[in-house]
Structure formats: C-alpha cells, structure tokens
C-alpha cells in the first residue's frame, strides 16, 4: 500500500464516497446534512488513514460515517425522536397466519402496481433509525451480517433481529397501503 496519505485516500476513500454519501443521506434524511457528515467523516478518516490496516475499506469508511452521523444527530438532539420502545430487541416477531392465501402479497408487485417506488423510499426513511441503518446496510449497501455488526457495533443477533423486524414492518405497511 502506498504510504503517501493522498494516494491512500484516493485508493481507500475516494472509491467509496458515493456509498458514504448515500448511507449518510439515509441516516440524516437530508442531502446537505449528509454532505456535511461525510465531509467531517472524511477528515476523521484522513487523520487515521495510516492506522487503517484492514482489508475492507468500504466498511471502515461506513463505520466512521455512521459514528459521525450519530454524533451529529445527537448534537442536533434529533436522536430523541427515536422511540426507545421501537428498539427493544426482546420483542418477538409476529407472523400473521390467518387469511394467508387471501392476503398474500408480493411487495415488489405491489410497489409496481402502485406505480410508486417513492412510497418504498418514504417507508424506509420513516423506519426508526436503529432499524433503518441495519436495513440500508444490508439491502441497499449489500453488506454481510458480520460487516454490519462491525459498522454498527451491534451483536450479530441484534443485527439479525433488527433486520428481520425492519423488513416485517415494511411488508406490513405495504400491505396496509394496498388495502
């Protein structure tokens, strides 16, 4: 690896800027705020770039972006909008079993039928942040479970249960939209 920080920045950080911005937008829900967060995260990344020895630059950068975004959110007292009840991982997943056949939906078909991908985007952005970040990291950024656990600092089991519950919430809401 090139010892020159600028060159390392170009290899390690620059290729992942688009992902970093997209992730920050999902967390902050605002384009300008996302740019501020990513800029601040890049300053931190640049400062510690010599210490990066791992192999997964994208996960490393997303971790810094995530931590920066959470600091930023709590500075703005926006984290208080998150209901703690929503984050209880003790809650059991409930799977509806009645009327299974009648109410069977394919979310994708429904989204297409509604002609409204914007709906899905809205539903994702309204998920509580603890669910949203896990869902976005998996289903939009394509990270593996253990990478998500690394980025968020959550135990693997919590990652799995939040991901399942986030998806369940979306499916339930899409079903409601349709009926």
């Amino acid at each position: 690896m090139n010892p020159d920080p600028t060159a390392r920045f170009n290899t390690l950080v620059a290729p992942h800027l688009a992902d970093a911005l997209a992730f920050a937008r999902w967390i902050t829900r605002d384009r300008a705020d996302a740019e501020d967060v990513v800029q601040e995260a890049c300053v931190r990344a640049f400062r510690s770039i010599d210490r990066f020895s791992g192999s997964n630059a994208k996960a490393w950068l997303l971790t810094i972006v995530r931590n920066t975004a959470f600091t930023w959110l709590s500075d703005k007292r926006r984290l208080s909008l998150v209901s703690l009840d929503d984050l209880s991982d003790q809650e059991r997943l409930e799977v509806e079993q009645g009327e299974a056949c009648e109410r069977d939906i394919s979310p994708e078909a429904t989204i297409i039928a509604l002609g409204d991908a914007a709906l899905l985007e809205k539903l994702v952005s309204e998920l509580p942040i603890g669910f949203r970040e896990v869902l976005v990291l998996r289903d939009i950024q394509g990270l593996e479970y253990r990478e998500i656990s690394g980025v968020t600092g959550l135990p693997l089991g919590t990652v799995m249960s939040r991901l399942a519950r986030a998806r369940q919430k979306l499916i339930t809401q899409i079903r409601q939209e349709r009926s």
Binding site: M1, P5, T6, F9, N10, T11, L12, A14, P15, H16, L17, A18, D19, A22, R25, E35, V38, Q39, C42, V43, F46, S55, N56, A57, K58, A59, W60, L93, V95, Q97, A100, D104, I105, S106, P107, E108, A109, I111, A117, L120, E121, V124, L135, R138, D139, I140, Q141, G142, E144, Y145, E147, M160, S161, L163, A164, R167, Q168, L170, I171, I174
Partner: protein, 248 residues
Amino acid sequence: MPLTHDDVLLLHAYLDGELDLATSLNMERRIREDPVLQRVAREVKGLKLALSRMHTDREVADAFLSRLERKLGIGRRWSPPQWMLLAASLMIVAGISGSLTSIAVLQREPLSSSTQLLDGHLRSLMSSHQTDVSSSDRHTVKPWFNGRITQAPRVVDLTDQGFELLGARIDVIAGTPVPTLVYRRRQHVISLSEMLLDNATEKGEIQQRNEHGYNIVTWTEGQRSFVAISDLNSTELVSFAQSFRDSS
C-alpha cells in the same frame, strides 16, 4: 405449526445467503413443506428485490468533491492521465496486429493480472463513465467488441438473476486488450474481464479472494479465464459468477 422467533431469523438469514450449507438445505426443505414459511419467504424476497431496484442517487457532486479536497488539503482528485488513455488505444491496435510476447506473458499468469484489473475497476469507478459502450442489451454490447479486439467475448443477460448489464469497456493487461463487461447489483458495479488461455481447461471451480477491500472471483472455462471484481459482498459476487458460468 406457528413460526418461532428463531425460525423467522433463520429464514431471513437463508434468503440473505448467510447460512452454512447444512442449515441452508434444511431451511430450503422446510420452506418447501411449510406454507406459512413459503409465504413469508416470498414476501421477504419480493421486498429485497424491490429495495435492490430502488433508485439510489450515486452522484458525487463536483462542488462537494472540490470542497472536500480543499478541506483535506489534497490535490486534484486522481484521473487517468492522457497518456494512459492514449496507451490504451494504441494497445488495442497492437492487440489486433498480434502482440505475441505480451499475450504469452498474460497466458502463463492469468491471475497475477488481477491487480491491473483492479486498477481498471477503480479507475472506472472514479471517472464519470464506467463503460465505453453503455447498453443493457447484449446484442448491442457483443458486436461493439468487433474490430476492437480479436476475441469474441461471451455476453450474458443476467437481469432475471438481479444483475443488470450496464455496458462494456476494454482494459489493457500486460499490453493486451481485455474485454470487460460491466454489470450492476443495487449500486454495486461489477467488472467482469475475460482472458484467453494457452490451453483448454475443464470448467474450473470458482475461487475467491479479497484485495484492498474488493472481492475478486476467478474461474476458468475452456480457453477462457474470467475475473470478476466488485465491492459487492462475496456471497453475491460468487452467485453472480455461478449465474454467468452456468448460463453457457
């Protein structure tokens, strides 16, 4: 039988390709037999597909980049120097006229070229266009290589498997032009290069490794060696390689 909390978690993990083979096969069997699991699996699969197709803005605004570079005190962001572009186009000519030495070098060590392919992949990510020809139609992409390179690379439509064809470009490895197809999964770009080998081989196993945070999978097939590079997670990149390999 009602689903337990663990059943649901396992189902999601199964659909995410996160289970080991034995657990995965077991889950597959249970889904076949249990109508409730079947329905939930269909819903979750549909949702995952809808999410992966959701348009996500991939643009890094120039104004933002300039601001960032000023803030960090680094120079202009890296772009391929003009000589490199020129060299690439000259090499294409050299390739057609038959640059035997470089082809021989390439053929002996098909895997060592992955560093150069990785460079090509990174370069394409950082420039505004990732392809020299942009089309999702393999009947447009395949003829585009005519007259640019001597080999006729295989171009496969993998839309149904969730990999969208974006187009193609030519990378230059060890002085030899190499056809590279560009696919996309969600917003992850996959560069797939095809190189010719000296000797015909059997359909080889798919091998994977990681370099600088990028996943690289390789396999050989007859006289061709394939290298796919992406920041996509390794499970999905291997499934991409399998879909491509099995399409013939």
